[in-house]
Symmetry: C3
Subunit: 139 residues, 3 copies
């Protein structure tokens, strides 16, 4: 049994879902990890990690539309508006989703379903650079 740590940096062009499944798979392949557990941790409080459908782009469009309606930018409920009217909504959207994912690895591949991709969900409207720590334990 062995373990390994790695860091990914994902640049975003503002609010939306960014598929980075290939970058996780490439790290597994490079290290020849066969069986084990990969944990991903996003080191930010205004963006999320999400496993969602990777086929029809309308799913991502609809997810974004739903969350924008549920947690509207500029909601007068919020008093933390230091960085703009999308600041607090980004924190709420992060709380409603997650910053942690754990995925089994089987025969060198992520145990994802056929239609599952791993996404970084940027909740701020401006471009950001987001850092994800990866941990693997296994063989």
């Amino acid at each position: 049994m062995r373990q390994s740590l790695h860091e990914l940096t994902i640049p975003t062009r503002g609010r939306g879902l960014y598929d980075f499944t290939d970058q996780v798979s490439a790290w597994l392949a490079k290290n020849r990890f066969q069986t084990g557990l990969v944990t991903l941790h996003l080191r930010h409080t205004s963006a999320s990690l999400l496993i969602q459908e990777n086929a029809d782009p309308d799913v991502r469009r609809d997810l974004e539309a739903f969350f924008s309606r549920l947690v509207p930018d500029g909601d007068p409920l919020f008093i933390h508006t230091a960085e703009g009217d999308d600041d607090m909504p980004a924190h709420v959207r992060t709380a409603l989703t997650t910053v942690n994912l754990s995925l089994p690895v089987h025969r060198g591949r992520l145990a994802l379903g056929t239609w599952q991709g791993i996404y970084l969900w940027e909740h701020r409207r401006a471009p950001h650079s987001r850092t994800i720590t990866l941990h693997f334990v296994g063989e």
Copy 2:
């Protein structure tokens, strides 16, 4: 230290919460796992994993009622309606909950609280067959 992978298939009769705690516990017992970490990953994007109260069935009824009101079937906001009016709501409900769980194992048992059960939450109205990958690392 050792590890193991397993796959569970849960048939559903449509939307609702299905307790499968016993199936996870049975796998631990069969392999005589004593101390470690179990990770569960659901390989779908229109159903969730949830740890919730296993005592009063009204809790499950109320959870379902709340989510049905929050993410209504047939909402005109959604354009991804390929598989029916419960298609996109199922993706949103999955995003609002999770498809990953990680549970410590202590003295051969899941470190669940007295009132906690592990549920598969089917978000589609039609019956489905859902696959969960289990990973154990420990002793």
Copy 3:
């Protein structure tokens, strides 16, 4: 590679967010864990674990305000009201967030971002005592 289990008990003074990052870090330091994975599991169904901003307290105030409006106490939709009008809202708020967290450990420290803290979110209005099981695997 080794592993370890531990239990934390956090007393709450009622609804709100309680930072317990230091207690997790102290456990790592005491055991001289250098590299690995920490998993936290909260053994309750009416409180959550949350990673959120630890700088401006207005973020916690706004998170609480948003969730109180989204899942109002005393909502006539709910029939599970055995323990009061904040009983079922506490279960829903737990379902919308999580009771599981997994964090890589690097050079003896949690791989948290600069602004991230680990919180227990008490969803009941009365004070409670909450138990969290910690698991570490690594070196």
